[in-house]
Structures are given as C-alpha cells and as structure tokens.
Symmetry: C2
Subunit: 497 residues, 2 copies
C-alpha cells in the first residue's frame, strides 16, 4: 500500500538542508518500522508539491536513498522501500512479574561516589561564567582547525584516519611535539620517551597506575587539581597532602617513604604560584636521595604573561626521575582530548601497554589534525592570541577586584587563566557559589581542591578564560554584592557608581 | 645578519604544496633555533629565484607566517624573524657522572608483560594479509565519512567539537544508536542505559572494573578474545575458563560463585559459532538464579550473512542482568575508536563516572561525525557493502580451503570476517605463522586465544576482512604448502595445478 504524502513534513527552520531533512525522515521511519519493505513512496512531483519544495530536492533525496539501499527504484513505477532493509526486531517487553536483577548487591558505586558534581554543564547559559577550562569561540581559530582536519581527511591519510594503530602513536604528531613544543620547556626527548594520551586527565591516570602499587603512598600538593585527587583515591593509594605556600610545594615537608610526588611546579593549581629554581633543585635532589618519582603536571604553560615561561622541572632533571605531563586542552581546545607524557623509556613502555589495554590509542584523525595544526603554525598563533586576550582580561579582573575590595589569596601569582581568592572571615564559598548561580554568575568554590573540603570553604577560583572582558566588571560587582550580603559587611562598602 | 637563500630548499616530490613546505621549513628552523629573532629573510624575489617557484608562492608563505607571528614585516625593508617567538631554551645536558633514577625497582612491568606481541603493525607490507579487524580501503566509504566530518566541523557544531563535555555523550549519537542500531538487535534502551566508549576494548575494560571487585571470580569462554583476557588478568580477578563447543558457551559448565560471565553469544570469538535460543534462555535463567551478571560482546553483528542476525542476548533479557557491548570498529573503521555499552542505569552511571576519571569522554568531533554517518544512511550502505564483499570472499575462501585440504575447526559457523582452522596433528600454529611471514602471508596463531596458550598450538585464525578475493587462493595455497612441509604430509598431496 502506498505511503501518502501527508506522512512527510519538513521543518524549514531546522537549519539543515531540506534534502537532508527528507532523507533523515525516511531513514528514521524505515528503521523505526513505520515504513515497511515494499511500500511505495509518493511521486517526486506529488511529494514536492506537498512539501512546498523544488522537485529536484525530492529527486536528489530519493536518488541518495536508492544508492544507500533504503529505497529501490522500479523503472516508470516509482520508488519503493527497499527489501534489503533488515526489519526492526521487536524486543520482548518485560513481563510485569519479572524480578529485576539485583544490581545493588553487585556494584560498589565507589566511582559514582568519588565523582565531582559541582560543575555546571550548561555554563553557556550564564551571563557571567567565571568557569575554568572551556573553549572560547572568540579565541579558537575554528577555520584553521577545520582546514587542518580537511588535510587529515585526505586520501593519502587514509591509514592514519581508519587504522587500528595497536599501541602506536602518530609519528608526525610525536615529532612535532618533540621539535616544536618540548624545546620551549627546555626538554629534549626521543620518540621512546613520549606517549600520547586522551588528554592530561588520561595521562595522570595512566601515570598513577604505573607508579602506585596497591598500598603505596604518594605526596600531593594541598590544595590541588580535583581530578587528580579523584584518580589517586580510586587507585587506593595512601594520599599524603602537603600544604603549599606562596612558592608552591615545600620539598622539606614531603613525608618519608612516598613512591611519588605530584606537583604543578611552574604554575600551582589552583593558587598559580611558581616554584623558584632553588626549590626545584632541592625537590629533585630529594627525589634522588629518597627514591621517589616526581610527576610534573605542566598545564597551561603557554599562558605565561611574563615573557618566556620558566623551564619545566623536567628540563633540569638530570637523573630522569621526572614524569612530565602536557596537554592541548588549554592551548587548542578541551574537545581535542589529546595530551602527552614525557618520561624514561621504561615508564613510557609500561604506560603505553596500559593505554593499549584500556583504550588502544587516541583517534588517529585527531592526532593527525593536531600535527597539521602545529606544523602550519596555527598552534603558536592561537596560543599568542589567547595570551594577549588573557593578559587584557587579567588587567580588567585586577582592576575590578581592587575596586570591589575582593581579596586575592595569592597576589604574587602571575599567568594562567584564573585567580584564587579568599572569602571574608566566616563566608562559605560553596554557599556563595549557589547564591551567585541564581544571579547568572558561575564561580568555583574551593572545597573540591582540598584534601579536607572544609578547609576550602574560605577560598574560590575565578577563571577568565571563557568570559569576555566587557562582562567581567559587572560579574565581579555581583560577587562582591553577594559577599556583602552573606558576610555582613565583611567587605568595605560598595564603591560609588 | 640576513639569512641567505641557500638556507632554503624545497622537495618538489613531497606532495605538499610548495607554499606549505616553505612555511613548515621556516617554522622548524625558528623553533629549532637555527633562525633567530630579528634575522632578516631573503627578498621574496631572491628566494623565489633560488627555489625556482613563483614569487607569489613565497609571498603567500611569508604573509601567512606574518599573520601567525613567526615573521614581522617592516615596510620597504622586508621580512624578519619575529621577536615575539619564544626562543628555544637549552636543556642542561646530563653531566656524565649523574646517577640515573632507579626505575627498575619502581615499576612492576606487569602491563608490558601482559601485552600481546604477536600482531604485525606493518601488515600492509604483506601480499597475503589474513589479518583481523583492520580497515579495507576498498570497502570504507572515505568520501562519505569526509562529508560527515565536514558537517561536524561546521560553525553550528563548535560546542560539540571544542567543549569539555565533562561526563556527557553527544546526545545526537546516543539517539541514533538507540533508534537506528539497537532495534535491529531487538534491544530498546533509554539514554540513561547507554554509554559511549573509546571502542569495544574500552567498553570491556570499563565494565570489568565496575563488575569485578578485588578477588572476585568470573567465567570466560575458552578460547576467547585475547584483549579481554588481558583486561581480566590485569583486574586481578580469578578467571575461570569454560571450554566452548559448536553451540558456544555451555551454561551448565559455568562454575558456581562467579560474579560475571563474559560471552560472545551471537558470534563466538574466535570459533564464530552461534549460541542457540535454548542455551541463551538457560544462561539468563542461571544468571538470575546464581546472581551473576552477563557481559555480551556483540562484535561484528552487522556481518551476518544469513539474512537478519538473531536477536542479541540482551533482547530477551527480562531481568536486566545483561551488559551489552557494541562497536563501530568493524562496520565503520577501527580508527573511529567508538563503541558503546547498554545496561541497567546503575551500571551505566558507575561506568560513566569511571570513564570520566580515566579519560573524560571520546572526542566530540568523532561522536558528531559518526552521528551524521548514521543519520544520512552511510552506515547502512557501508555495512551492506561489507556484508556483500565478505560473503563473496567467504565463498572464495571455502573453495580454496577445500581445494587445498585445510581443516575448518568449526564448519557449521556462518557470518563474520574470519575462519577458525585446525592444524594437522603435531603442527604448531605459532611456528607456522612465523614460517609464513617470510613468504608474505600473515595468519594469527591460536595461542593468544586460549587460557593455556599450549592448547592453541593446534589452531589458527584466517580473517578475510583485509585481503582481496583475488589474492585469497594463492594465500591459502602457500599456507597449505607450509603445512605440508611442517606436517610431514599430514595434508593430502597438493592438487593438480
């Protein structure tokens, strides 16, 4: 029996080409079983009239669907739903009396419990998003990335796009990291000392599994990156938090017997302080003497405003005790999901074997696209653009913060894409964050960064990587306003408009 | 001091546009420190003459490098290496007397030891590659994928391309899997019952971590997928192998007290046998009675030649005890690195939290591109094309196998992209594989598939997913030839040419 034209409709506002919409609609109807094999479609003329589109639009859609086996065309008599389509198999609906499998007794739920829940997925819906680590359409060179992705989709790149690389990485990307990026951090490394990962989070996770045997203990900066604590808690290692000061991690405070020390030496997360050279050398000397590995998360090094950034810890690591972690999430965009580890070949070999077991390898297409983005200079251009924009936003932030009388927790810190602030006495930053959400302002409470969440109540992080300079002053004003209400005049009175 | 034209050269055979080559060369020289800030470049005229290219080519390259901050252009006086380039920081070379960090005492090396080493990365260099699970340029619709990737790079898809999705998946891809793919397997699932993974390997790994607490035991088919054994061994669970027969896993042979059973019911790996409905129902009844979860790896279901494939175990799972794993590696290409898990919302929530900790999420661009590939019908077209090609190759394989007198280990098996063969008495398939490599033939020895590798010596796998039909007969002939030499006439004499 023929399918009537009324069975079709188009959403002229949908933004998709009408021809594409029509194809999608027919495919959806076939796979959902609404259109059955052998059923006849309306003529292109009748359907075009009904939909109010050109007849060629319908003809194109039909031709495409014939070539993809959804439709069959019989000379003169028109188009039919193809017989070669596998019909939908109806699932047996669970009988009402079927007992459900007892999952509660099967699943520990420890991963869900360890999960961070304080981040707003719909941050774009907020007028004043002081959120950290998201891409800013104004700073990402979308066109250049698109161009590089096109190159990576070319015929000659078929193998890198489609192949199972087993445990290998894209040699072109590895070479560009070794030649273009690591030298700027003072690091020289060979291919067997570099491993590509699915972002820095994945790099941290792999390194933690390789270093921490069950029952091992490790030292971490306090406060530190919440994603790192998540990983270490799940690894069931003993975590020994070491409070940081204005110069980062104090080496003499590292407890004896740790297998590894996790640090953000160049740019402490979240305080943004930088570890001086003397401390770095002491840290490495202790690593050698006490026999612990040093894991250096060198996130955001591209965002140093004071000229060239200080060399990485890894650059002065003569003994090879440092495992270096880099990421492209900040300087390209987080959706690229690519990072890397630089370490002793034995560490890399073990992490590579683990990566192969857990996920094989990052998609070849993303690797090759990034290789082009680096080789054509787009990476540097974008990092420069971001650095300039962040520097400007930072000035606006500092002025507004001073004007509204907010308190910086680490005033001497430079660079990066965020500030670390202290709340007035007795003001809980979690409550502050909740209150501000209702006023279109997103901030990060400090709790997630501390080993003892309660210690974080007095701090919060304000990132300026995703908020425009124009919106910053009003955002800061609203934060100060909320603080005054909550802190009972803990802040000086609002400045004269 | 000016840089002489002789410092530049182009490889006219490199395949890259000359303008791009020139840009790459200048960027490489700058980042390597060979060209220093402030140094003057040759005039476009002089350099074009030296390189033997049009002057506009050099001018374009320079203009691009100015826009990306590598070069500065001073009116009338030409182009200079930009001052804004961060100069290469020299790493302190390790003093010869520096003791190296003692990694050997730090690293267990268990992941390297568990690693599979029998796969040939350069399989494309072999004339007769009976390798499994690699993409065939003749069957992958590269142009269609490219078109879908272009759509996924459009302005309106900026967020899905660049954003950190935290623990979320691309809703468009999830919907297409739920509406287009699962119904064909008889499965209906909601969004909270579906998790996207970085391929089936990643799905298996996540599920194993969620199900197997330390010390738990699980039942696995023997032989089975080597990547799965790797995962279970590393999880430190007790692995109880259950020998399969011509109808797959015998439910009554499952030992008591297991937390989970891993099965490839529709298409046993590597024997390709199919579990009959009666056994499936018994397996599910035991799961409910004994309280174990069932993990169903439904790889390759698209490659069923006998009309529509039988519904999945999950389709008749009324209690919700089955965790279903699907992959796009076979039907799209392995480089896409995308798979999925369908299970009870509690299982999905836990696996999602773990995935977020280990790698955040698969790249949004790959997810959105695949969503377009599905919605536009390319997925079905490609699966149909593969099915037809595999069916044809299968016929050629069967004829050659019969002609040369090789022995199928499971003759009744249908579908898939490989055969499981038995060697003549006393012939070791590992030695056979090594011997054949020297003759341009790649096969998979059986050892990697068995809990006791020695039991695999009598078997080997021949895949026809990456070898053309034309090459199959000669490849099979060489295998038979090597078997005769090794097996001392264990095979009938070679047929008359």
């Amino acid at each position: 029996m023929p399918i009537p034209p009324d069975a079709f409709f188009l959403d002229h506002a949908a933004g998709l080409p009408l021809q594409v919409q029509l194809r999608r609609q027919i495919i959806a109807a076939v796979t959902a079983g609404r259109f059955r094999a052998g059923e006849k479609l309306p003529s292109t003329r009748a359907l075009a009239r009904h939909l109010g589109v050109a007849r060629v639009t319908v003809a194109q859609a039909f031709a495409e669907l014939v070539s993809t086996d959804y439709l069959a065309s019989r000379d003169r008599s028109g188009h039919y739903i193809s017989d070669s389509i596998e019909r939908r198999l109806e699932a047996e609906p669970p009988a009402p009396d079927t007992p459900r499998f007892d999952w509660d007794s099967q699943i520990e739920g420890r991963f869900v419990r360890a999960q961070r829940t304080d981040r707003e997925r719909d941050w774009r819906g907020f007028a004043y998003p002081f959120v950290y680590g998201q891409a800013d359409p104004a700073l990402v060179d979308h066109a250049a990335w698109r161009d590089c992705a096109m190159r990576a989709l070319g015929r000659r790149e078929f193998d890198s796009l489609t192949g199972d690389l087993y445990d290998a990485d894209d040699p072109e990307l590895v070479d560009h990291i070794a030649r273009q990026i690591l030298p700027r951090r003072g690091i020289s490394a060979g291919r067997d000392e570099i491993l590509l990962t699915l972002g820095a989070q994945n790099a941290l996770w792999l390194v933690a599994q390789v270093l921490l045997r069950p029952g091992a203990s490790c030292a971490v900066e306090d406060p530190s990156y919440p994603g790192q604590r998540e990983i270490l808690l799940a690894s069931r290692a003993r975590i020994l938090p070491v409070p940081v000061d204005a110069r980062g991690l104090p080496p003499d405070a590292i407890p004896p017997g740790v297998a590894a020390v996790f640090t953000t030496a160049s740019h402490q997360c979240p305080t943004n302080s930088t570890m001086p050279l003397a401390r770095r050398k002491e840290l490495l000397a202790r690593a050698q003497a006490q026999g612990f590995a040093v894991v250096e998360d060198d996130y955001e090094f591209e965002m140093s405003f004071a000229g060239a950034p200080s060399p990485a810890l890894k650059a002065i690591d003569r003994a090879g005790a440092v495992i270096y972690i880099g990421s492209f999430s900040k300087s390209v965009f987080p959706g690229v999901r690519l990072g890397y580890v630089v370490a002793d070949p034995r560490v890399i070999a073990e992490a590579r074997a683990l990566r192969g077991m857990v996920l094989r390898h990052p998609p070849g297409h993303m690797q090759r696209t990034l290789a082009h983005f680096l080789s054509l200079g787009h990476y540097d251009a974008q990092a420069n653009r971001m650095r300039r924009a962040y520097a400007r936003r930072r000035e606006v932030m500092l002025a507004a913060i001073a004007r509204e009388g907010l308190r910086l927790a680490s005033p001497e810190a430079t660079g990066g894409s965020s500030f670390w602030l202290a709340t007035p006495e007795g003001v809980d930053s979690s409550a502050l964050a909740t209150r501000l959400k209702a006023r279109g302002v997103l901030i990060e409470g400090g709790a997630a960064f501390f080993a003892q969440p309660a210690r974080g109540r007095g701090f919060f992080r304000l990132a300026y990587s995703s908020i425009s300079a124009e919106r910053i002053p009003e955002g800061i004003r609203r934060i100060a306003e909320a603080l005054r209400e909550q802190g009972q005049d803990a802040l000086p009175p609002a400045p004269e408009g």
